[in-house]
Symmetry: C2
Subunit: 335 residues, 2 copies
Amino acid sequence: MSRTATRTARAVHQVARPAGLPTAEQFAFVADELPPPAEGEALVENAYLSVDPYMLGSMAGGEGGYELNAPLEGRAVGRVVESRSAALPVGTAVIHRQGWRTHAVLRREEVRVLPDLPGVPLSAFLGVLGGTGLSAYVGLTRIARLAPGEDVFVSAAAGGVGTAAGQLARLLGARRVIGSAGSPAKTAFLTERLGFDAAFDYHDGPVADLLAAAAPDGIDVYLDNVGGDHLAAAIGSMRDFGRIAWCGAIAQYATTPPAAPHNLFELVGRSIRLEGFLVRNHLDAQEELYELLAPHLRSGRVISPETVLDGFDRTVDAFLGVLGGANTGKMLVRL
Amino acid sequence: MSRTATRTARAVHQVARPAGLPTAEQFAFVADELPPPAEGEALVENAYLSVDPYMLGSMAGGEGGYELNAPLEGRAVGRVVESRSAALPVGTAVIHRQGWRTHAVLRREEVRVLPDLPGVPLSAFLGVLGGTGLSAYVGLTRIARLAPGEDVFVSAAAGGVGTAAGQLARLLGARRVIGSAGSPAKTAFLTERLGFDAAFDYHDGPVADLLAAAAPDGIDVYLDNVGGDHLAAAIGSMRDFGRIAWCGAIAQYATTPPAAPHNLFELVGRSIRLEGFLVRNHLDAQEELYELLAPHLRSGRVISPETVLDGFDRTVDAFLGVLGGANTGKMLVRL
């Protein structure tokens, strides 16, 4: 397509660094004229933006932190609307990291071209088929090495990673899948919609007691999204040779230092493995996940739960919401 | 051999439960008449007794705890001196769990018959070829999966597991081996006799600083014998994808609850694995260890360092000594 005029695009800038949890005042919506794509570039119109707790770390600044007064970054899916790249024809669906804005100018090496999976909505690539689903998949398979017949506990189970983890654990042959979440509506969602065998609201008492009641025979695998009390409870309920895949700690992103579990030493006596991981080191598992999930997404056996806020103006609200646990499933902004 | 008369044997009994570290008054030396072996039994005269920190846990009582006013138990090596078991002819060298006594009456299934390894002393089967050596071997291979060219840190490095670990790490192709110990004499022993590349005395400052100075480029593998500050220091110095094999915590056997490392959350960001293990779940690796070490023990490239107290009367002293760090290498009693 030939060169066209500039186009007005909008972006969210960070204008101040958060100390602890961020506030809306630390962000600004800025309109700018985007130049037309140069040779080798394509203009992508974003369709869905992902807002994720990990971004808080980059907002605090330091090495690898976000620049102030520049568009923030985050995962987004969209379609090419103008192109000077033969590898990215108009209409191509892509996922990329220039979120928090309405449009992005991108080169082939900056995007992942999304496969055509009939019956699978584009937003699923930011959910169960995206980084959160991949975190759950890698955590259960490569890190925890879940075996059929084992019992799995998932914290933050109504969140993006958690909803994927519960459904994936089932597909991978888990015997019982137990989840924790932050409200009765969420725990009902887990057991009624996602096939969890048990779920508890962590406000209802000490987490160790709630987990022991939900999994009286113990657990083999724990996918940790939360740290703190949940990690200690999981250690307490772990069987011999249990594995904990630790992929982040929402409750602790904004606090330093995070509390370590008082019962960590139990890892020795019961031969438990606690392993941290970052999904970015396992992107080679992405195709495997598409292949595993596509038929189940089509049949409806697996869903990609989303909390969608409509309109680019809601981007900051969505981010503050996910930090506060306002989402069920992946928190997304639809443009 | 035909039935003979009873024989006077001596044993150490526990007469009171320790609250925290034990004292000599909680033990008693008791002489008893041992009946001659019955059909299928052999009388073993113990040659060396092993005293180990883990025994403190069983002394505290509870499930699996030692009975009061009965012979204590622990690993020992000895030779059959009288036998009514065809599988255990007189002269057979065995390792077994009826230590803390001069003689033991045993059945075939209660002992491991020791191989004849010319040039290897019997005491080595309680040291580098025994449970401590096996702990080090399993920790480095099966748990930490040490790869050639990696850097290894060992705490309590002058102890039984530590001295084995340092030498095994070298045999397994480690690039640098760093140890911590509790005195200048011990650190000198590590670098001068055992081939450690660096060693520090943990009394000389914060362990995190001492380790960072000894391993300025970080470490890939940590074999933890200690917990506490050492574990936190090792986490702080770990490279991406580092592994911690956690086989016990001497400093913490007598305290509840043990302190967890303040920086545990770093496991996530650097994809670190922390895995507890018990050597008793890996006894099938024993023959592999004999095979690996026998030629090096004969050539002197590997030694089985021992602190030996002479005489059965020193058994309690030896145990209190190993809890207090009085040993270099395996603490043994020679009868």
